[in-house]
Each structure stands twice: as structure tokens, then as C-alpha cells.
Symmetry: C2
Subunit: 360 residues, 2 copies
């Protein structure tokens, strides 16, 4: 079968890691008889350099008309921050948030699990890790504070800034359905996270989640307050299967969750809507400090491509093959520098891509 | 000197731990020649039982006219949650949030540090702990989403809920000043946490913090995005000295920070305003499951009382004495059950209070 993929290499290490994912996809294509057609588009700093905006209308149109979008990383890092507001036109409103909204990608899926081979990198002690953990954060991606009305104005001579957090039943229902659907394919456990002791939007969230839960009698569902969840992730990550939450809480908790795996350079993500079109990207940033050195870890992007095969193209067997190839290469002891450990073999970005492709 | 203290034993283990803090305060009084006068007031579940509301106007008036307020814990736990919205009148709006707002307690100070004697309880690995960590979260407490206008209404037949996040310059300035003041007494480092790449309120936050920073040339100041901060707390907690942030982010991050110490039962907190009147309480909850058993750990409450001596009564020497007594008792190997370890001597709630009082 033929599939069109919009490729967004982006900034920093983006181009290098996307090249490896493409290598692996091409291998899947020839092995399983599919044709992947790529169109490269610009987004982020490179698009500002070329066109003065982080995402041009032309680029957006290409993304919209593709079967799927694979993104490397956009934006730069300042200090420890993945994104910044130094240049006003670099603001995510005009790039990442725009593509999410325009493509209707309301469901952000970020798996966070402990790779057996990389347990040493986990910042948590053995007794906390227990039998390991394997969770998925289902984050609502096109509502809440991110897309609410906002303004800054003088009120009685005092500068005052306001952001609005709005959710309606339908927005909550559709993301809840996605979470329960995914739970059915996993351990059938959903923990919905909110701040229902304070927020109206969270109280509506809880109500709608409870309604949706009725359609999934097999799924164990419970509610957790967001402050408590931030603690539980550190104290007992093994209790989570699917975490369902709104946009801002999901932003914070998914980053915390991926960090406790110790392998954020290995974690993929998918942003989905109501059609098959999805946007796939690694959970990590553009790491400009190591860009162009052929040392970045391409695995998160390759695993994102696997998610693309699974969710956008319904190619489960092919997705399994990519995931198995990654496991095999890790088991064989190959590591990029970020996950390098004693007794292992250090390889470059492109060598890692080759190894995974060879194992398809 | 004489000081009036409103005591709020509250629910669950609250009365037991407050009794021990009072024991220690009385000891400080007779040792250093101060008189502490207590008035007990009801708040939380016990107040609902007695008066039908979580905080009566009479109780609030007593708190307002006191020199300071010492709180045990209010509310119940359901599952892992410290507070819940099961009974609508148990909602914090009518209790905890009300007392914070009415007393003008805009600055919540929550220290999070690793007790040397309790390193074993820290969920993080040795190499992450490094030389240990010792930070203070300065959380804005009377603004933002907690006190914004909110409503739930039908829009075109669809239930829609909205919360508003508002900050003005003055609210930001006064909390920033508190953070920089405290940094001057510590390691002179402030990390201000926001989501300035998305929120207008965060952009104003950043601007005002930068202005305030000019008055503290000795303090090193930087900005960090909230999602990144949630990661950095797990990855490198040693980098933090004072974290300055708004209400909701502070709620989430302070719980995460206290959990990574592994000793949340040991952590105190203070909520301050522009007068000397403050509210002091342990960072943990009311733990109804162990209430009445004389096994709860009173140390967080006793350390909260020490903060009261320091911040509300300007009794630094006396506060030092309480903190030193706690350290001594830990060093001598006494532990309540929650922090019990091999080779240590297990003691009850009241025994722990006695031991600390004896060491004043
Ligand atoms: C860049 C930023 C706007 C974005 C977000 O907050 O959604 C990022 O942190 C993410 O999680 O993808
Ligand atoms: C009970 C709840 C409203 C409160 C808050 O969110 O402020 C609590 O979590 C806290 O941190 O003191």
C-alpha cells in the first residue's frame, strides 16, 4: 500500500534523527511491500529563517493533505528549557500549537516505561521501581489554558493578565473515549487526573469521565488530584496504566513521567484526532548543543514512526517489527552516547539507524 | 512576651500532632520566658459535624484576631487523595481556601530538604541525590485559578465549564519580593517557574520578577518552564534553592518536591501575608486511617511551630532550639513508625513530643 508522510525534520538534532526514522521506514516498506512517499516541510527556527514564520500556510496545507506527519524536534533550548519565548514569533502559538489545532489533534499519547535494558538510568531506587512500570499518558491537546481567550490589560492602572481554562462535555468525552479504548488494549485501568476540589472544569471533567466509564465496565477507573499524582509518580509509578488528563496537567505530568523512566531520549509520542491523520514525534527536544555531531539518539523518533505505522496506517505487524528491532539492538548491547553504559558498544546516530533497519 | 495562638487541631491525626506541637511550644515558653495563649477553633470535617460548615465566621474571627494560627490537618483522605469533593460543603472554598483569602496569606513557603538521618527513605538514587538538596518552594496562594471567576453553563446545548487564571503586577511583585528576601537568607538563588511560552499571566509574571530582581543584585535569578521543572526536580534536585511560582504550579511542584525528599511526614509549611499573622501547618494530610492510634509523626507540625516562632513572633533563637531538638532526637535514633528503620528505637506520637520537648 502507499502512504504519504509529511516529514518535519525541524531544528537542532531533528534532521539527523528523522533521517534514521526514514531509513527504518523504507526498510519496512521494502520488506512488507508498502510505499512511503515523503514530502519535507519546514517548521520552527528553520522556517523562521526561510519564511519569517515558524509554520507557513503552504507547509500546513501539505501536512493536512498527508496521511501522517513525522516530526523531529522544533525550537531551541535555552539553559534547561526546551522552548522559550525569546523571539516572539518563535512562540508555539504560531508553530506547534497551530499545527495541533489545525489538524484537530486533540489526543496526545505519551508512553512512559522502563526499558529493562536501561534500568540503570532510572533515577528511582530499586524498591520504588519494583516490577517496573509501563504507563501511557493520554493528554488532551487542543483545549484548556492553551487555547483559551487571553489578554493583558491595565485595570485601575495595574497591569493584569488573564488566561482562561475552558472545557466542554464533548471535548472531554472524545479524549476520555480514546483513553478507555487504549486501556482496553492494555491493563484496563484508567486514572483520571484533575483538580476537582478547586476547578469547575475539573468537576465537569470528572462527571463526563464517569459517564464514559459506564461504556467500559471492564475498565477499572478512578480519580486522582493532580498534586497527588505528581507525588504518586515518584512514590509508586507501578500503579499507573493509563493516565487521562487535561492539557496543562498533561504537559507537566507527562514530562515528569518520562523523566522517571530515565530514558526520555527513548520515548515516542503520538498526537491523534478523529481521522487517521496523526502527528508523531519524540518526547525529547531539539538539543541544539549536540546537533550535527551524529551522536543523538534516534530511537525515540524511530519508535514514533512505529506508532505512526500502528495508529495512522493500521500496520500493526510492521509496528511490532520496528519495536522488536529496537529491543534486539539494545539487547545486543548497542548504545548511543546518552544511554551508554559499561560493557556496551557505543554507536553513532546513523549506525544506530542502520542496526535497527538491519533487524527489521 | 505574650502571644496568642489560634489552634486548629482539625480532623484525623490533626488533634494528636497539634497536642505535641503545643507541648513543645509550652516548653519553649517556660524555658525562654514567653507566654503562649491558645484558643482552639474548629475547621474541616469536625466543624461540619458541629456547625454544618467547614469554617464558621466565629472561628474565622478568632483566627483573624490572633497573633498566629497553627493547623494540624483538615479533611479526609479517599484512596490516595488528601482532599476530596465528595461532600460539596467539604469543598476547600469554604475552609482552607477561605481562611487563606480572609487572612490575606498570599505567600506559601514549603521547604523540601533531605534529612541526613533519613536518606534511606528518599526515592531517588544516590547519584541523583549527590550532596543532598535543600530547597524552598515559594508558592503564590491567593491568586490564579484558585480564586478566579468560574462557572459552568450550557453553551449551544453543551455543558461548558470555565475557570479563569488572573494575576496582576502587584500580586506578582509582593510574592516575588518574599522569594528574593528568603533567597537572601539562603543561597541567593531564585528559579521562577512559569509557562511563559503559552500563558499571558506567565509572561507578566516573568516581566515583574525581572523587575523585582533588579533590587537584589546579589541574587542569581533564572526562569524555568513548569514542565521542565517537573523533570528537573527528579533529575537534579540539588540545583534548586528558592523556587518561585504561581498558585496551581506551586501546588503541583511543592507536592512533587516534598515527595522526592522521602520524608513528607517531616515537612513543615508557612502561609504568610503582609502582617506578622501567619498560618502554619504540616505538608502532609489528615491520614484518617491512622488517627487516634498515637502512632502519627508529629515532627512536621512541631517544625511548623518552629516556623511560627521565627516568622510570626521573631523568636529566631527559640526556633533554632526547636529545630536543634528535632535533629538531636533523630540523631539519638528515635523514630515514629513511618520513618522507622533498622537499629532505631520506635516511639509513639506522644513519646516523640516528649523527647523533643525534653531537648529544648
Ligand atoms: C512547546 C510547548 C508549547 C509544548 C506544550 O506545552 O505543549 C511542549 O512542552 C510539549 O509538551 O509538547
Ligand atoms: C486542599 C487543596 C485545595 C489544597 C490546595 O490545592 O491548595 C492542598 O492541596 C494544598 O496544597 O494545601
Amino acid at each position: 500500500m502507499g502512504f504519504s508522510i509529511a516529514l518535519i525534520p525541524g531544528d537542532g538534532i531533528g534532521p539527523e534523527i528523522v533521517a534514521e526514522a526514514r531509513k527504518v521506514l523504507d526498510c519496512v516498506g521494502s520488506r512488507y511491500g508498502h510505499e512511503f512517499n515523503y514530502t519535507e516541510i519546514l517548521m520552527g527556527g528553520c522556517s523562521i529563517d526561510a519564511y519569517g514564520v515558524p509554520l507557513s500556510d503552504e507547509a500546513l496545507a501539505v501536512a493536512k493533505s498527508s496521511d501522517s506527519v513525522l516530526l523531529g524536534a522544533v525550537g531551541g533550548n535555552v539553559g534547561n528549557s526546551r522552548w522559550y519565548d525569546v523571539a516572539p514569533n518563535l512562540r508555539p502559538e504560531a508553530g506547534l500549537l497551530k499545527i495541533r489545532k489545525e489538524l484537530g489533534l486533540f489526543a496526545n499519547i505519551r508512553p512512559a516505561y522502563l526499558f529493562n535494558e536501561l534500568k540503570g538510568a532510572c533515577p528511582l531506587k530499586e524498591d520504588i521501581i519494583g516490577d517496573g512500570f509501563d504507563m501511557v499518558i493520554m493528554r488532551e491537546l487542543t483545549g484548556g489554558l492553551y487555547f483559551g481567550e487571553r489578554h493583558t490589560e491595565e485595570v485601575d492602572g495595574v497591569m493584569t493578565a488573564t488566561d482562561t481554562l475552558t472545557y466542554n462535555e464533548e471535548e472531554i468525552r472524545r479524549i476520555a473515549v480514546k483513553a478507555f479504548d487504549i486501556a482496553m488494549k492494555r491493563n484496563k485501568k484508567v486514572i483520571s487526573v484533575d483538580k476537582a476540589n478547586v476547578l469547575d472544569s475539573s468537576r465537569l471533567w470528572r462527571k463526563v469521565v464517569a459517564e464514559v466509564a459506564k461504556d467500559y465496565p471492564e475498565v477499572e477507573v478512578s480519580n486522582m488530584l493532580v498534586d497527588n499524582c505528581a507525588m504518586q509518580l515518584v512514590m509508586n509509578p507501578g500503579q499507573f496504566d493509563v493516565i487521562l488528563t487535561e492539557n496543562m496537567f498533561g504537559d507537566i505530568l507527562s514530562d515528569e513521567a518520562s523523566m522517571i523512566t530515565g530514558s526520555i531520549g527513548m520515548l515516542s509520542s503520538a498526537s491523534l484526532g478523529s481521522s487517521k491523520l496523526g502527528l508523531y514525534e519524540p518526547s525529547h527536544g531539539s538539543a541544539p548543543d549536540i546537533a550535527g555531531k551524529n551522536i543523538a539518539n534516534p530511537i525515540a523518533t524511530i519508535l514514533s514512526a512505529a506508532m505512526m505505522l500502528r495508529y495512522s496506517f493500521d500496520l500493526d505487524k510492521e509496528a511490532d517489527a520496528v519495536e522488536a528491532a529496537v529491543k534486539k539492538v539494545l539487547k545486543d548491547g548497542y548504545r548511543t552516547i546518552d544511554i551508554m553504559d559499561e560493557g556496551m558498544t557505543q554507536v553513532s546516530t546513523s549506525q544506530m539507524g542502520d542496526l535497527i533497519a538491519d533487524n527489521i
